[in-house]
């Protein structure tokens, strides 16, 4: 047992932090919040240079073959800086779906391109009426010769506007059991019938899209994995996505906490730094407890994705999703309270932390859903 970061990992974090400081300062985040596209080619290219798109991709497809714990460290830093970019969607949604279910040919085509930064992908999971249950998939795919025709609506698709391909689960067999009848498809984002529009969401550091599929043809080579058995690889993708969001949230929480603490040390009211008052001091202490609790669970959950059985990986991912996204949201909210008026202003950066973590709480299964997962898998 050794839960300490090794030297390479410490260096990787250090580089990621430096990158974020230089490339995505808060001025840039603000710009991208307002920007339609939400990132720049320059930023993307630099991220590719950092090797981040290649981290989880197997070496045989041009990747670095690293583990989720490594990517977790990078994503924590991205959370600290509220980095806007389609990295999360590309590496944890698009690429992971291909890794989880793709044929050799598909892997060769997509993973190599993702690793070298020439392609971006995402996952069109959620549907209207799902609430926040990722297993509620009712969109139909009709058989059409060798391929299928997709029609329906997907919502809250991360960075679809910036994606080259979209992995889209749909029903190839009627029913409500996700384990039976869902097939994954790879859809070209530019394919006829695909209409992508951005949603006006609270957190615009990460763009979410609605996609209308109108009789979209997918050929045989667009079928990803086994027909009707898409749920199992999809779960794997969702699990890692949850861990990725958890990592971002712990990074965000840590930074929000630091912001609050620094302010509490210098802000004077009643002739004392407000951090000397227990109402503030204990609030900050509680933030620290939550951040460190979340970090302990996050590290395990990330490790579990590559090193335990599916059930344990699923429990850990759901638990970390619940705890770390709540931590992110709570700590950001608590930091606003410590900052007082200035924390409620647009001018201060703290609200980006609240908005991003709140969005993460909802994505890929909300707290209600993941608690239910934890209890189903442990009883």
């Amino acid at each position: 047992m050794d839960i300490n970061l090794n030297e390479d990992q410490v260096e990787m974090m250090r580089q990621a932090r430096r990158f974020c400081e230089n490339e995505t300062p808060m001025t840039f985040v603000r710009e991208m919040f307002e920007d339609e596209r939400g990132f720049t080619d320059d930023l993307w290219n630099k991220m590719v240079e950092m090797g981040w798109t290649a981290m989880l991709i197997p070496e045989q497809y041009g990747g670095l073959g690293m583990q989720m714990t490594d990517l977790m460290l990078v994503l924590m830093e991205h959370g600290r800086a509220v980095v806007p970019s389609p990295l999360f969607s590309t590496v944890l949604l698009g690429a992971e779906a291909i890794i989880a279910a793709g044929s050799d040919a598909q892997k060769e085509k997509y993973l190599t391109a993702i690793a070298e930064g020439s392609m971006r992908g995402t996952l069109a999971l959620h549907e209207p009426g799902s609430g926040a249950n990722p297993g509620y998939i009712q969109m139909e795919a009709r058989k059409d010769g060798d391929g299928f025709i997709l029609s329906g609506t997907k919502l809250f698709v991360t960075d679809a506007h910036a994606a080259d391909f979209i992995v889209c689960p749909a029903r190839t067999k009627a029913g409500i059991d996700p384990a039976d009848g869902i097939t994954l498809f790879i859809v070209d984002a530019k394919a006829p019938g695909v209409a992508i529009s951005q949603l006006p969401v609270i957190d615009r550091t990460r763009k979410l899209c609605a996609i209308e599929f109108k009789n979209v043809k997918v050929g045989k080579d667009g079928i990803l994995g086994e027909a009707n058995k898409g749920w199992s690889p999809l779960c794997k993708v969702i699990r890692k996505a949850c861990v990725g969001l958890a990592a971002e949230c712990i990074g965000a929480a840590e930074k929000a906490m630091e912001i609050a603490i620094e302010y509490a040390k210098v802000r004077v009211q009643f002739d004392q730094p407000i951090g000397s008052f227990q109402a503030i001091k204990h609030r900050c202490a509680q933030m620290y407890v939550e951040v460190e609790s979340g970090r302990s669970l996050l590290y395990y959950a990330a490790w579990a994705q590559d090193n335990t059985d599916e059930q344990e990986a699923a429990i850990a991912a759901s638990a970390a999703k619940v705890l770390c996204t709540e931590t992110g949201k709570n700590v950001a909210g608590s930091a606003i309270q410590v900052l007082g008026g200035i924390g409620f202003s647009w001018e201060h950066e703290i609200h980006f932390y609240l908005k991003r973590t709140k969005a993460s709480e909802l994505a890929f299964g909300d707290t209600l859903y993941h608690r239910e997962q934890v209890v189903s898998l442990t009883t």
């Binding site: 109402a279 609240l354 909802l362």
Partner: protein
């Protein structure tokens, strides 16, 4: 003990509601926000307030000589409750004017000041703002650094206020200033009535995290205010600021209950119309527990408001326990808006302006806005200090104790 309003009061409520229905501008939709342009909003407020005044419904509980109606606080509560639950947006620009400026002027000003200002408040001519908070005087209001130096018949004011609601719409300001820096902090303050058109005043809107500008910074550079615009004596500013608003707060608290009842109805509509796994979320037992708790907290707000109002009507003076009212609406509002977002699942991220927006994005806005509730108008921490020290008589902490000496 009786929770029923009298037959006369109920009749008055109905009469007023009927009258009110006719005043609401065409196209006004009470279920959503109607005014996004401040000039339009101000004009709508002025028109609405003028009609209230002319209809005989302005300041029901004030003396007729100042333009009131000489009735009891009950009528005023009925009027305000009815407005708040049917067209609150129309009266909102007058929130500080009616809740802060008016009662202060009414109870602390000279006869001449009253005759000058009250009628123009009641008929909607002027909107007021309140200059209390400063960059270094947030929770610690007595730390006010805006200076007023007496020169001939004027005070010359220099300094900065912040978090000033409606300053960008306001014609006048109630302003807390330091007239004597040589005495203990809370003893050197005075209270002025300032015309916002006076040269040297600059108002800069501050955008809050909701992406809207509800507050402002107000800068005072060599601003001349006649000495006769002072309220009370020099050095009495702190006392006036702290004590005069207690009575009016009772009314404010009493209208919160009905407002939250209306919100609960919206929440129930939401729960019935929003799907989770294809089924209305109201069928979800966990969500049901949250709904129940929202209703229970709404009842608390309502009956606490009535209990306080009742005490005040009997001549009781609402004391520092009024601080409870602030906590009873601000903290539940954060929980209720959070629950409303929970119910919507992923859709809870969608703000106004999409086919996927739910209830016009009201809950999204409210969720963000509610984060300010525990900060503005005395943070929850300050409220708990007040309750602990003034209601429960627990000792001040030693640093704050030392400062008072």
């Amino acid at each position: 003990m009786d929770y029923r309003f009298t037959v006369e009061q109920e009749a008055f409520r109905k009469e007023f509601a009927d009258w009110l229905a006719k005043q609401i501008p065409k196209g006004f939709d009470p279920s959503k926000r109607n005014y996004y342009d401040d000039d339009e909003w101000k004009a709508a407020y002025q028109k609405f307030q003028k009609s209230l005044f002319e209809g005989g419904y302005a300041a029901m509980h004030y003396e007729k000589e100042y333009g009131g109606q000489g009735k009891t606080m009950m009528e005023q509560v009925i009027v305000q409750q009815t407005i708040a639950t049917t067209c609150g947006e129309l009266s909102m620009p007058g929130g500080i004017t009616m809740g802060m400026a008016l009662p202060t002027i009414h109870s602390c000003c000279t006869e001449a000041q009253k005759r000058e200002h009250i009628p123009k408040i009641l008929d909607g001519t002027y909107i007021w703002c309140q200059g209390f908070s400063e960059p270094n005087a947030g929770s610690d209001v007595a730390n006010c650094a805006t200076r007023a130096v007496r020169k001939n018949g004027d005070y010359i004011i220099d300094g900065q206020k912040t978090w000033t609601s409606f300053a960008h719409m306001a014609d006048w300001c109630i302003l807390l200033v330091r007239t004597d820096p040589s005495v203990a902090k809370h003893k050197g303050l005075s209270y002025l009535l300032v015309n916002m058109k006076t040269p040297g005043i600059e108002v800069r809107p501050m955008v809050q995290l909701t992406e809207e500008a509800e507050f402002n910074e107000v800068f005072f550079d060599n601003v001349k205010v006649p000495v006769e615009n002072r309220v009370g004596e020099e050095g009495q500013g702190w006392m006036i600021a702290i004590t005069t608003l207690m009575f009016e707060r009772t009314i404010g608290d009493a209208i919160m209950g009905p407002m939250y009842e209306r919100n609960y109805k919206r929440l129930v509509d939401l729960a019935k119309s929003t799907l989770r796994e294809g089924k209305p979320v109201i069928e979800n037992p966990v969500i049901r527990q949250q709904l129940a708790q929202a209703y229970i907290e709404t009842m608390v707000l309502k009956y606490h408001g009535l209990r306080n109002l009742s005490k005040t009507l009997k001549g009781g003076i609402p004391g520092p326990e009024g601080s409870i009212g602030k906590l009873l609406w601000s903290e539940p509002n954060q929980r209720i808006t959070e629950n409303a977002l929970n119910m919507q699942g992923l859709n809870s991220q969608v703000m106004r302006g999409s086919p996927w927006t739910i209830q016009d994005g009201n809950w999204q806005y409210s969720y963000l806005r509610a984060k300010g509730n525990t900060i503005e108008a005395g943070s929850s921490e300050i409220q708990r200090n007040i309750i602990g020290e003034r209601c429960l008589l627990l000792p001040k902490d030693s640093s704050r104790e030392a400062r008072r000496k």
